[in-house]
């Protein structure tokens, strides 16, 4: 700890920490815990005329279609349910984005919450990344659209994932981050490739 001023302490624990400190496993695919990412859960009637403006103000993107995710660099908007969107943005931008949402949806029944610290995020990459998820999730990945946000379960816990770059990005609750890292790593063990 470093004293930064009269009566003020700088404490590294106040800096945002990802769930597992960037844990990595290299198997037949690479598993990496990333983040922290900024994440906002926005719940409102998605067909309300004020909704697109709120999303635009928060992350500069349009509304995704059902079960889809729109990505642009560090920002994304995913369809989670008929009344819920997941907004992704740089961690430091979440607070300001919440203020812009509140302004855009003033008087409109809605809920917007910073869930950045409630989530863990993983990347599963490599030519066989799909096999890691196939073993854990009841999902036909061949039928997954390129821009589909898939909510499902990974073994015993809730998960959501989508294709991104040379693999997948997967989100879970932070409270089960260690379990999910264990699952993904075990599934990616060399020698356990499918086919």
């Amino acid at each position: 700890m470093t004293r930064t001023g009269p009566g003020r302490m700088f404490d590294a624990s106040h800096m945002p920490q990802s769930a597992l400190g960037g844990a990595v496993f290299d198997g037949f695919a690479r598993v990496q815990e990333i983040g922290p990412l900024g994440m906002i859960s926005l719940r409102c009637a998605l067909d309300h005329p004020a909704c697109p403006a709120a999303v635009q103000a928060a992350v500069g993107l349009g509304l995704p279609a059902q079960r889809r995710i729109i990505m642009d660099g560090q920002r994304a908007v995913g369809w989670m349910s008929p009344d819920e969107l997941l907004l992704i943005l740089p961690y430091a931008d979440a607070a300001a984005a919440l203020q812009r949402i509140a302004a855009a949806l003033d008087g409109v029944h809605h809920l917007a919450v910073d869930v950045s610290d409630a989530r863990a995020v993983f990347r599963i990459t490599g030519p066989r990344a799909d096999q890691v998820l196939t073993k854990l999730c009841p999902v036909d990945l061949a039928a997954l659209a390129p821009d589909e946000l898939r909510r499902t379960r990974a073994a015993q816990v809730a998960a959501a994932f989508w294709r991104e770059g040379d693999g997948y990005t997967l989100v879970s609750f932070r409270s089960v981050a260690g379990y999910v890292m264990g699952l993904l790593s075990h599934s990616a063990q060399r020698g356990s490739e499918l086919g």
Binding site: Q66, R67, M80, S81, P82, E84, P138, R151, T152, R153, A158
Partner: protein, 91 residues
């Protein structure tokens, strides 16, 4: 077993939470007789054949579904959003 979620498409049973009979959709009005509440909470048919029950797409789109299925053949005959049923009922 798969259920065809109207919003998500065909999904594995493990993404759903089973709640019970569709009787739960017909809550007695305030002030209803104790017998009505007793029926609502406890009295269920146990059909050998077509039955309707509530499933929650918990690990998916978080929608409640009414599933019509046949207990003899395991056939799934219909899956509907409870939100749509309620909207139609109040329209």
């Amino acid at each position: 077993m798969r259920l065809n979620c109207p919003l998500c498409g065909p999904r594995d049973r493990r993404e759903f939470y089973y709640y019970g009979s569709e009787d739960y959709l017909n809550r007695p009005a305030e002030g209803a007789a104790p017998q009505a509440w007793d029926d609502y909470l406890h009295l269920r048919d146990n059909p050998a054949g077509v039955t309707k029950d509530l499933w929650y797409h918990e690990l998916g789109c978080a929608s409640w579904l009414r599933v019509t299925r046949n207990t003899l053949t395991h056939e799934i005959l219909a899956t509907e959003l409870v939100a749509d049923l309620k909207r139609e009922a109040t329209a």
